[in-house]
Amino acid sequence: MRTLLGLMLVLAAVPAAAQDDPFGSPMWEVLRGEYFGTAPVVFDGRVAVTAPASAENVFAVPVAVDARALEGVREIVLLADLNPFPLVLRYRPDAAAPFVATRFKVQQATAVRGAALTADGVWHVGGVMVDAAGGGCAAPAQSYAEKDWAEHVGEVQARAWPPGPAGTARVRLRIRHPQDTGLVAGIPAYFIEELTLTGDDGRVLGRLQTGEPVAENPVFTLELRPGAARSMRVRGRDNQAGEIDATIPLPRVGREG
């Protein structure tokens, strides 16, 4: 009887915990354990996640996580609960504002969450629901329609804007890469796993760990604090040891032309 009562209490606790999640996502408790362990987690509107309510293109849904309303953010995690690979990216804004934007592939309608870890060890979680026709993670890359795609993998297009009064410079990157998830028969996983941005003085500005859902030819928007650096360097690698290495000039107001 006591065992039964105990079991009932356990069962009763599950929906109560699930109710905590503003999106009522069936995966939330699992993801919480997997990505945040036993660390305290709070739902917090100060982590603003921007994404369209309906995914017009399931292969490239725009999303931004903005935790600039919080102090002392150490790490940002972007998750799509019901994707076959929920982790879109992790970002450590070493010398950067806690802001990251990209585009990702969505497999079905899902909660999309941004979580920001503050210095006190608390994860602050915000999010939005994204409706989707589905299938974004399970289709071959469009790159393969281009005969010479392999010659261009890892090419970087990028631009930095002059730092504002707070010393924060917007940086936008686009990298040629098919970003295969491994879910298409006969096409192995092939995607960028790591990107690190440094100043030309060697200082690390930000580190991205990226997962399968990041869209083909990925685009990232960051807010870096380059200090006195005159240029920045982005280095990274994909899961097949392909390397990415490019230098991004950093314009200064009044120094241009």
Binding site: T50, P62, Q157
Partner: protein
């Protein structure tokens, strides 16, 4: 896609059994010119409430049979159109014209499978390529209204030409820009222009297959015509060509805004919520359609604007 479509249909059936609402398109032909009728749709997006009835399909009773323009978003819609046409005339349907590959122009084709269905070659090719996916997505968007709908390809390629049916002399005008192939039809006898997807009237233009520069050129071509009544596929029917200018104004603003935003360093996600000028406030589905357009048009602009670095 097929499995998805069936799943959505099942969901639609369950929703239907719960609400027991009869899914009936109430189509009433409105006479807009001599022998010429239009079924006016709502200025909305596809929803399970409107069943996809957001278009202005029409027909001309020529004296030598009926010419039909667009067949609607579903088999059921096409059937309702055909029944409504029969309340106006006993003349048989002679031919159907489909203006482009978007779902509401041709998913009612099954109801007209016994007559020639004409479209530009690019439209036929587009439907061949994307038709299954387009139909599957409509199952998701409007649910049980789609029951029994299957893609039916247009059967007859048409080109720029002038054709005569009964009392009516029609100019078939091949355009591009809204999609790869956009057919406009000017009835020179009445001055009615079935503009297809190239002109929107008080309804925000849709851009999933758009090339804005080509679209603007298409609008210039329509501006040169003698039009007495303009039937846009979406939005109000008007006795002037003001909506050609309205469509041009929107597209010009849209493209300039996205280019300026890319140049200023915005991310696509930040562009979703940019302010839209007050003069567009009267356009239906404004914010939602604007956001869709951001997703459609942004990547190409961005790709061209970000310099290659080494």
């Amino acid at each position: 896609m097929r499995r998805l479509a069936l799943g959505s249909t099942l969901a639609g059936l369950l929703a239907l059994s719960a609400s027991a609402a009869p899914l009936t398109y109430a189509l009433t032909p409105t006479r807009i010119a001599e022998d010429t009728y239009v079924f006016e749709g709502t200025r909305e997006h596809f929803t399970r409430a409107n069943g996809g009835n957001i278009l202005n399909p029409g027909f001309i009773v020529t004296g030598d049979g009926v010419l039909v323009f667009q067949t609607g978003p579903s088999r059921r819609f096409g059937e309702a159109m055909r029944a409504a046409i029969a309340t106006v005339t006993a003349q048989p349907v002679r031919k159907v014209f489909v203006s482009n590959l978007h779902p509401d122009y041709w998913l009612g084709n099954q109801a007209f499978a016994d007559v020639p269905i004409a479209a530009l070659p690019g439209t036929i090719e587009g439907i061949r390529r994307e038709g299954e996916g387009i139909a599957g997505n409509m199952y998701r968007l409007i649910g049980d209204w789609m029951r029994g709908t299957e893609p039916v390809l247009p059967t007859e390629p048409v080109y720029g030409s002038t054709v005569v049916y009964g009392r009516h002399r029609l100019r078939l005008i091949p355009l591009e820009g809204h999609t790869d192939a956009d057919l406009a039809v000017l009835d020179e006898t009445t001055g009615v222009l079935f503009a297809g997807g190239v002109v929107f009237c008080d309804r925000t233009p849709t851009t999933p297959h758009a090339d804005v520069a080509k679209w603007l050129a298409a609008l210039d071509a329509l501006d040169a015509l003698e039009v007495r009544t303009l039937v846009p596929n979406h939005g109000r029917i008007r006795g002037d060509t003001a909506c050609i200018a309205q469509t041009r104004d929107w597209l010009t603003w849209l493209e300039r805004t996205l280019r300026d935003s890319v140049e200023a360093g915005l991310d696509m996600s930040e562009a979703l919520d940019l302010p839209i000028p007050e003069r567009f406030a009267g356009l239906g589905v404004l914010r939602e359609e604007y956001r869709r357009s951001v997703v459609h048009l942004w990547p190409k602009i961005e790709q061209a604007a970000l310099p290659r670095v080494r």
